[in-house]
Symmetry: C2
Subunit: 186 residues, 2 copies
DNA sequence: CACGATACGGAGTGAGCGTTCCGGTTGTCA
DNA sequence: TGACAACCGGAACGCTCACTCCGTATCGTG
């Protein structure tokens, strides 16, 4: 890895770019022009490209940072006394936070389905699965779901939340579905 | 309204454009270049614009046509013997069909939230509500939801289906949530 | 302080795409 | 069949935007 120690101004500008990108991507998603990010950061477009090879790379850096925060939160709940409550609290919190962040919505909902995008946020994925499995073992969540399924359901919940924001009872429909015992229904 | 009777070739080309647009939009959504649609239809770009004022208008025409089909299907089920079964059958069918059509996904999921887009597909909206209310009256669906809520849930289900296609059990989670009696849960 | 390396800004480049324009073509009707 | 209006194709235009280039400014070191 190359870490030739950045010059002081370079390090500062890098941080500014990252902060500006986080704000801009969160508000408008990947569609925000890179020049806008540069202006918001108070630097030129060239400077952005010295720190990140492409707009896409900058986007992924921002998203990854956020996903690592989610992963950390999941880690804290990994051995809570009540696995069911921990799971549902976490689920609701992720939905609420992520729905306010368009970058996260777009990154999670990316229709790639597999391959490269699946590797991003591996830790988040793993911690989410751990939370799920513990809740299932405790009988709080139906057992016909795995981590990938849950991820898909999160994407769905995000779509619902984005479509009609603040509808608390809609997410509850999903939560009730998660609680349902396996095998029911026609 | 102006219907000055189109010339025979104009009418034929209009139909070709519509068919090509339906196919292209269904596959790639609004992002497909208009030139591609024109080429697929075997006409020039100018011809497309003689029939539709903008790419957006063409898109909406395609979407509206499809939504009217959905509305018609809902109308047929409006007085089925079993309101609950009618509702769930319809819901599952719409999800399956719409998830294969990226144009519909984008149109329904458009984040406008209200104003103009809300008016598109009014009939679909109304028939959907009718189906829902009948199922609720029959005790087959929880009663803390209205037509708009259901629409949001459809958008969510579409996101799930698009994210991991063919996962039959994921939609079932949502359906189980819809069946759940109101007032349960922490 | 002076000098080389590093980093900066922002104009410039090229590609993609929606939309328009117009010279040529084709349908229609007397 | 002739002539006019309606229609067609696709080149051209204008705009946006990711990305590059290079003359200039700044940092860090001896």
């Amino acid at each position: 890895m190359d870490k030739p120690v950045l010059r002081a101004d370079a390090r500062r500008n890098r941080a500014r770019v990252l902060a500006a990108a986080e704000e801009a991507f969160a508000a408008d998603g990947l569609s925000v022009p890179l020049d806008d990010i540069a202006r918001l950061a108070g630097v030129g477009a060239g400077t952005v490209y010295r720190h990140f090879p492409s707009k896409e790379a900058l986007f992924q850096a921002v998203v990854l940072e956020r996903l690592e925060q989610f992963a950390a939160e999941a880690r804290e709940l990994a051995d809570a006394e009540d696995p069911g409550a921990a799971f549902y609290d976490y689920f609701a919190r992720v939905i609420k936070q992520a729905s306010l962040n368009r970058a996260i919505c777009e990154a999670l909902g990316a229709t790639t389905g597999s391959t490269d995008k699946a590797e991003i946020g591996t830790e988040f994925r793993a911690n989410l699965s751990a939370l799920l499995e513990r809740a299932q073992a405790a009988g709080a969540v139906r057992t016909d779901l795995d981590g990938d399924d849950l991820r898909a359901l999160i994407v769905g919940a995000l779509a619902v939340e984005r479509y009609s924001p603040g509808s608390h009872h809609l997410v509850r429909v999903l939560l009730d579905g998660l609680r349902t015992v396996t095998g029911a229904g026609s």
